[in-house]
């Protein structure tokens, strides 16, 4: 397991390094001045432009430039925004919190709903409920998230008026942004109207979370159901029955852990899909997170911000994937055997 962990972590580091090379070369691909793309300092501001050019090694070879870039990048100097002139890295952290809040809640909701429904469907195999659950899951899997979001807004916000259309919190509450996660921020603040603010935040929060949870939730449902059915046919389940173990014991000790294996393996993919949906959803709900920030930076051709957002997204996804894989290999040891047997 230690060997496996080290290999995975090395791979992660190498991938992250490749990502920095990619980011560096992006500065040359983007239209406009390379140094401006990198630092966000415009050539019109000639003094700082000169200084930046010197600091970034723009008078020497491209390798020096890359090394300097790497140095600045790893020390948290990600340049400044072309439009707001604010430091990209400092701006990024609270937005990351906002995105994480949405994604973690959506993922939790997806698991709470998806896995039990999948189990239920597997229990009723080929029955009416199974068909209904599977049909709903395949349809929900095909709904474009931006359409779904609009439909739900139309229903819950416009027609029923249960929830605000967009945003994170009523600005009147005046909560200081610390982590970016609105619930944590409210809990950490000493606002006199804490509970009212919390209620308002949750009121803003639940609709985007549901929108985001639907796709991974339905995926989870299908995977759980299929793997349950698969596991129930396995020899070791029949053997456990032959040994006279109780049905409950078989279910909890042998069926569920094994049925969860493909689910765990797919969690990384689910998270990637969630991230892709979160970009669009944040734009629709006007949620202050990485996704809406990234899209806005593309509109405004704000390349330093774009790089920062891209790097944050990619790192987050890679990191989650590696963590999922490590967990998978730790919990399901025969996977490790397969991996070693490759060599």
């Amino acid at each position: 397991m230690i060997r496996y962990t080290l290999r995975r972590l090395t791979l992660l580091i190498v991938t992250l390094w490749l990502l920095t090379v990619f980011l560096f070369s992006l500065n040359y691909f983007f239209p406009g001045d390379t140094l401006t793309n990198m630092t966000g300092i415009r050539a019109s501001d000639s003094l700082s432009y000169q200084l930046a050019a010197e600091a970034r090694g723009f008078d020497s070879s491209i390798f020096t430039q890359y090394l300097r870039f790497l140095g600045h990048f790893s020390s948290g100097d990600w340049g400044q925004s072309l439009t707001t002139q604010r430091d990209v890295f400092k701006q990024l952290l609270p937005l990351l919190g906002g995105t994480l809040e949405l994604s973690v809640l959506a993922m939790l909701l997806a698991m709470v709903i998806g896995a039990p429904l999948g189990l239920y469907a597997a229990r009723q195999q080929r029955g009416a409920m199974d068909r209904v659950v599977m049909g709903v899951s395949l349809s929900a899997y095909s709904v474009p998230v931006f359409w779904l979001a609009q439909l739900l807004i139309l229903l819950f916000a416009v027609k029923l008026g249960w929830t605000p259309i967009s945003g994170q919190l009523n600005p009147l509450f005046n909560i200081d942004v610390q982590t970016g996660s609105i619930i944590l921020d409210i809990l950490a603040s000493d606002n006199p109207y804490k509970s009212a603010a919390l209620a308002d935040a949750i009121n803003h929060l639940w609709l985007p979370v549901i929108v985001l949870a639907i796709m991974p939730g339905t995926m989870l449902m299908r995977i759980t159901r299929n793997s349950m059915l698969e596991v129930l046919q396995q020899n070791y389940i029949r053997a456990a029955r032959a040994r006279g173990l109780s049905e409950l014991r078989i279910l909890f000790r042998h069926v569920l852990p094994n049925a969860m294996q493909p689910v765990v393996r797919q969690l990384g993919l689910m998270f990637s899909i969630l991230m892709s949906n979160i970009i669009v959803t944040e734009v629709i709900f006007n949620w202050p997170g990485l996704g809406s920030w990234l899209v806005k930076s593309i509109y405004e051709r704000d390349y330093p911000v774009l790089q920062g957002g891209l790097f944050a997204f990619a790192t987050l996804i890679l990191f989650v994937n590696v963590v999922v894989e490590l967990f998978h290999a730790w919990r399901y040891p025969q996977v490790r055997k397969e991996l070693y047997a490759e060599h």
Partner: protein, 331 residues
């Protein structure tokens, strides 16, 4: 004393081309403490028989029998839960690929521990847990595993097939079953491991009066300890009787053919054809009527299109109109 009594058991499978009778009027009697070997080619329905006894029944199977009794229970009259209670308590089974019958994501130790019936343990939780552990180790010792700690800490994929089979046997005997069904337990093993497993099973049978139904493909694998033997072809019982009698003086043409096929005769002249039955095993959809051996049987005559009744001659029973030796005084 007969503990398992099967009379005229039929199993029909629903297929796309109508029902197929995979087990046709099958008979089997098993006495307490005896090792009974069931010989049949692949697809002859012997594994299905094992499943029918244990009650792994697929809803698409239709099972009928004049009698399917386990000791005092009529197995067909019990509902699923009662039946699992009886079979789970009294029977156990080991399989041909043992490692696929162990949960791949659980260590061997816990899997072995959980098969020990909790009714036999007393005391508080911690003591029970420790007892389980020691009993599991003792079980492994009994099946001939020395480094029990190592094995219990392993995952199934880390064990060799022979070791995994020993572990399955340990699990099977954990609750002292009266009947152990061994479905080709040594197919994928080396001869030395195979011998070990057979010796172990024979010892267990003798030691605690456990009956064993040994299912195997060919006659060479019949162990010397086996008291009785049955031959099955395409779901029909061909011949049954005490092992030595059947092996030495077969009455059924099929038994004879199997014997001459499997025993490599030293005095066969060089470059002669090895004896085989002509033809091939029919597929399930195309079973001949009457005696299913009919088209392949060298002695088949017109009467063979009717299924022969089971007849008894001394200790042997056989289903054939034209046995190899007619016992005249009995006739």
């Amino acid at each position: 004393m007969t503990i398992l009594d099967i009379r005229n058991l039929n199993i029909e499978l629903e297929t796309d081309n109508g029902p197929v009778r995979v087990l046709d009027r099958f008979n089997l009697q098993l006495a307490e403490g005896e090792i009974h070997t069931l010989v049949g080619e692949s697809g002859s329905g012997k594994s299905l028989l094992a499943k029918a006894i244990l009650g792994f029944i697929n809803p698409r199977w239709k099972i009928t029998a004049d009698r399917l009794w386990w000791r005092d229970y009529d197995l067909l009259a019990l509902n699923n839960a009662q039946r699992r209670l009886v079979t789970g308590r009294d029977m156990a089974m080991i399989f041909q690929d043992p490692s696929s019958h162990l949960d791949p994501n659980d260590k061997v130790g816990p899997q072995l521990c959980e098969t020990i019936p909790s009714g036999e343990l007393t005391g508080i939780y911690l003591k029970r847990r420790a007892d389980r552990q020691t009993r599991a180790e003792r079980l492994l010792h009994r099946v001939g595993i020395k480094d029990t700690k190592d094995v219990m800490e392993s995952y199934p994929h880390e064990l060799s097939e022979g070791l995994a089979q020993k572990v399955s046997i340990a699990m099977a005997i954990a609750h002292n079953p009266k009947l152990l069904i061994a479905d080709e337990p040594t197919t994928a093993m080396e001869p030395s491991t195979r011998a070990q497993i057979y010796r172990l099973l024979a010892k267990l049978s003798a030691g605690q009066g456990m009956s064993i139904l040994m299912i195997t493909q060919d006659l060479t694998a019949v162990v010397p300890e086996s008291q009785r033997i049955s031959l099955i072809y395409c779901g029909q019982l061909m011949e049954t009787g005490p092992t030595d009698d059947v092996m030495q003086a077969p009455l059924h043409p099929y038994t004879d053919a199997m014997l001459s096929m499997s025993l490599f005769n030293q005095d066969t002249p060089v470059k002669t054809r090895l004896p085989t039955l002509s033809g091939a095993i029919p597929t399930l959809q195309h079973m001949p009527i009457g005696c299913r051996l009919g088209p392949r049987c060298p002695y088949a005559r017109r009467a063979c299109v009717k299924q022969p009744e089971l007849r008894k001659q001394q200790h042997q029973q056989f289903a054939c109109h034209y046995p190899l030796r007619e016992d005249s005084e009995h006739e």
